[in-house]
Symmetry: D2
Subunit: 345 residues, 4 copies
Amino acid sequence: MKALVYNGPGRKSLEERPVPQIQSPGDAVVRITKTTICGTDLHILKGDVPTCAPGRILGHEGVGVVHAVGAGVTSFHEGDRVLVSCISACGKCEYCRRGMYSHCTTGGWILGNEIDGTQAEFVRIPHADTSLYHISDGADEAALVMLSDILPTGFECGVLNGKVEPGSSVAIVGAGPIGLAALLTAQFYAPAQIIMVDMDQNRLEVAKRFGATHTVDAAATDPAVAVMAITGGRGVDTAIEAVGVPASFVTCENIIAAGGTIANVGVHGVKVDLHLETLWSRNITITTRLVDTVTTPMLLKTVQSGRIDPATLITHRFTLDRILDAYETFGHAAETHALKVLIET
Amino acid sequence: MKALVYNGPGRKSLEERPVPQIQSPGDAVVRITKTTICGTDLHILKGDVPTCAPGRILGHEGVGVVHAVGAGVTSFHEGDRVLVSCISACGKCEYCRRGMYSHCTTGGWILGNEIDGTQAEFVRIPHADTSLYHISDGADEAALVMLSDILPTGFECGVLNGKVEPGSSVAIVGAGPIGLAALLTAQFYAPAQIIMVDMDQNRLEVAKRFGATHTVDAAATDPAVAVMAITGGRGVDTAIEAVGVPASFVTCENIIAAGGTIANVGVHGVKVDLHLETLWSRNITITTRLVDTVTTPMLLKTVQSGRIDPATLITHRFTLDRILDAYETFGHAAETHALKVLIET
Amino acid sequence: MKALVYNGPGRKSLEERPVPQIQSPGDAVVRITKTTICGTDLHILKGDVPTCAPGRILGHEGVGVVHAVGAGVTSFHEGDRVLVSCISACGKCEYCRRGMYSHCTTGGWILGNEIDGTQAEFVRIPHADTSLYHISDGADEAALVMLSDILPTGFECGVLNGKVEPGSSVAIVGAGPIGLAALLTAQFYAPAQIIMVDMDQNRLEVAKRFGATHTVDAAATDPAVAVMAITGGRGVDTAIEAVGVPASFVTCENIIAAGGTIANVGVHGVKVDLHLETLWSRNITITTRLVDTVTTPMLLKTVQSGRIDPATLITHRFTLDRILDAYETFGHAAETHALKVLIET
Amino acid sequence: MKALVYNGPGRKSLEERPVPQIQSPGDAVVRITKTTICGTDLHILKGDVPTCAPGRILGHEGVGVVHAVGAGVTSFHEGDRVLVSCISACGKCEYCRRGMYSHCTTGGWILGNEIDGTQAEFVRIPHADTSLYHISDGADEAALVMLSDILPTGFECGVLNGKVEPGSSVAIVGAGPIGLAALLTAQFYAPAQIIMVDMDQNRLEVAKRFGATHTVDAAATDPAVAVMAITGGRGVDTAIEAVGVPASFVTCENIIAAGGTIANVGVHGVKVDLHLETLWSRNITITTRLVDTVTTPMLLKTVQSGRIDPATLITHRFTLDRILDAYETFGHAAETHALKVLIET
């Protein structure tokens, strides 16, 4: 089968690989019909993710059809159309029982990282019963690819952890795909204000169309000053960090209202300054989270009932043959205006 | 009346002052019968609290008897025995309605800071109806002085914010009066482990008597290594920072289990390093809080029902005449083994 | 001044009364500009509310302008435009501090019940600082009259108590003004299904326009059977009872999914059968609540930000002179299709 | 092997049966070392549980040693000492993922009901990975038998659902084994008052020793009157129904404070009267629950750390040979003063 392989920092290729086989009773093999590329894949290609060894097939998002199942799989059968979660969860360990699938002792984020991933014609999924989801007839499969990772990430790490509430003020720092996923799902809770902060004018325009009540161009103005002005000097109840660099986290510290919550979503490579000399008395909460995908069943319902349409995040479409072009397009988002690129087999 | 007055950095004196008068309809004047000294008073004396101007009577803790009330006070009358909260709350503003009395727009921590305080024979209490509490007959008033500040502080900022639960593991970094108040009140929730960390052997011994299951001498060992060993490498579910320096906060970062909560209680003077490069994916929560004293009615019930006896925190007793000696004793706690010093008029 | 007076069961009249005066330091007198009639007013007129004595001016909803304030009022001044809450709250008692304003020991629902109400040119409001709300410039005052009672009632007693969540299934039994207020505010939480049950075709059509995903005509079909069919036999996660009779409560018992919540909003005159012989093992929750109006500030934000427009509930408008006609219209809702009738002075 | 078999209403016998075999990959067979009898077993013997067919081996509590495991079991191995949960949970279905193991679509309470149970030398446990728990070395296995059912039942259905809090008032109606389990675990949350209500003087004396602050003899006094007197007319914050008859549920309705919670634990055979004509405005919550045993890991920690000792519930011990005598003793608890009877193989 064809597969996109990481060959060490800066190197990737579309290669021929053997179709994966069932290895454990809980495994399924899924024929991928649609997948996509994540910002994390670009991190891997820069060499920033040491758990991902050269030779690995990348990708942790996708939908497809069940090709084979192990003896212990009870919820899925050959031919079932399925959504692949980016997180593999055993459903048994202490962390899975607490809903922290991200910390599953034999799973977590392993797809396209510690084991071969979804940017291929087939993928092996461990713990299939608790890591795949049924797709109902008539569903828009392209939209559902967004539920493998970015929608639950924006929702769980940003919106839920950030405790967005009706009438509240929200700032989302970073209008990339994850920030926009937070923007879409924040609207489940009817906040009064959603302020998007980014340096890319195109993304801010997209944010406006997606429901932002205000946008702040961080290239043109000090974003903290702008957000404080929009909120009448009060700050926001929820600040969602969706970039992953110290400056944007400090912006969140500077705009959070007393009693508010900073929900970190970004993947950080270095430490940040936490200004406890002012924040110690401000009754704030800071959260971090690797997505658990525990809300996937709920998100499926909101998509099926038409409350949100995550297909709006897809800007480009490619066949698997042209996945290297897809990487080019996604990797130069400032010029291509790419958000999510869909790859179909 | 006699009053302990702050005269600028490093200077204090016991002076004669006029008895305070009712200034607003919501005021009460309370004759103080018992008060105490807080670590924050020492901070003021070092010049670290710019909101506290020279000439200020210090003190934000105490019990007493209502001496006079303004026309708008409905819940208290002359002669009522009362507990003074360290936080003044109007009960009307947005923050008070949300239970964030600490951020009351016309109150908060003002006693012995922005207005004259309780280390005197009399004190004026603004917003008396929502800043005083009735004391029931037969109550141990010395014990109740601990409910003005340190018990709600340890409980709200440490135990509640830290989400201590039955069966959980808790570390409290800092075994001073506030850390010990957290230790006492953490036991409301039956955690399986409470690990106290300090460099003072005497305080660790007190902690053992107060219910700590483990103690770690941070002068003799790396506290993070010790806590990880006690918890079998897993870390603690709740880490309570009760010192207020970067090193102890970083210890909390190093011992927090995935999914756990760091509850900051300490007053910090400088920023700390937040190691998001490791914590971003650990599903942790960090909280800060200036005590709101919203749990004072509940704490009164637990004291009255005998669930805790905060009088055990009192190590020394003085009359108001000798308050300068009380400051000496409290200021040299390492030698005197002082925890809380009671001052009676 | 003109006032609508209850003269005992079945008797009411528009009378001339003296303008009310400040009686306590916390009082305000408000000149009413807009008021409305509540289903509860009809209950009073039937003689069903023994706390309401003949001679009482009715009404507990309205907006107006502050005419006079007592010496203890600090948040409002003559000329301020204000929303009157149906619940008077002292902000000081145990219940107010817990956010249970409905059980305020010196307040609660007293307006137009134990003291004179808002269907008059002026009304005296006790505990003004915590029972009135500022109206911002440019607000639609007719819309805000809906925030005195029915919007917080539908939201607090129905939606919040019912724990409506994104993707969940909700049934609202009763499509009168309160049920429709629950329907409007349930959409703050993006449920996948909102099923409205009523016997009035007109109200069901209104419900469709207001966002119901399904309607059930209880005059034509067994509503429990219909709701179970709509939910694939699973039942609803939230059942909101907005009628106040045994049959509709039992419908809720019959349609609630395992793990679901029945939120009672209706005012009941007799006991109901609770079928614990089946429900004991179904992990359900039942809640009751008299509205606390603690969410009024939040609801004001959602109206100001355009998330909802409660003016859509207003079907008829009258001047105070014609309030008897307004009662006629409201009292014959089946024929007049009245939802809320606005009365302007 | 020997097994206690239900032979239809009123008939049971100790019989010889074949040792159960692995049937599915997720099964384990456990050699039972200790088991006990539950009040539910008596219900079955009366013929009240139609899902339990004649020929069934009874029992849903026990500890033992793993004898064999299916191919899909990963967490347990032959020779492991284990606690058997009364609830079988697949860990995969919608309900299991929500922590509602009681409603597992292929599990729930099936042991000793729909499939053969634990009152035997061996038992087959479906979904073993998520229905068994490891026992640590040195644990008191007799104490742990109480964790199969009654401790999680009292804790989850009574204490957690009842929202017991520090300083609160709790009444537990029914001082049988489940009521006493609620009493033991309520103390995890340091309530100020725990009032036990029963008609059996012996059980009330046991309750006193187990930590009740007050006892009410319902044979000698109207329990609602007595509880209202103890609480100064205010009622209790939490009322736990642990009997399962209408009268005791109505007692809970009569003693619940405004804002309080009635947590039903009892198994009811008939409907009860819910007095909504008074309760509709009292802001109360009523909960029902079949135990989910999701707190078993937490309860294991509290037992291991010595916070509670559930072995105190064991009043009598028998060998499996004498299980008919054990039933006699347990079935005549009023005379024998039996609480839990331990049966050892």
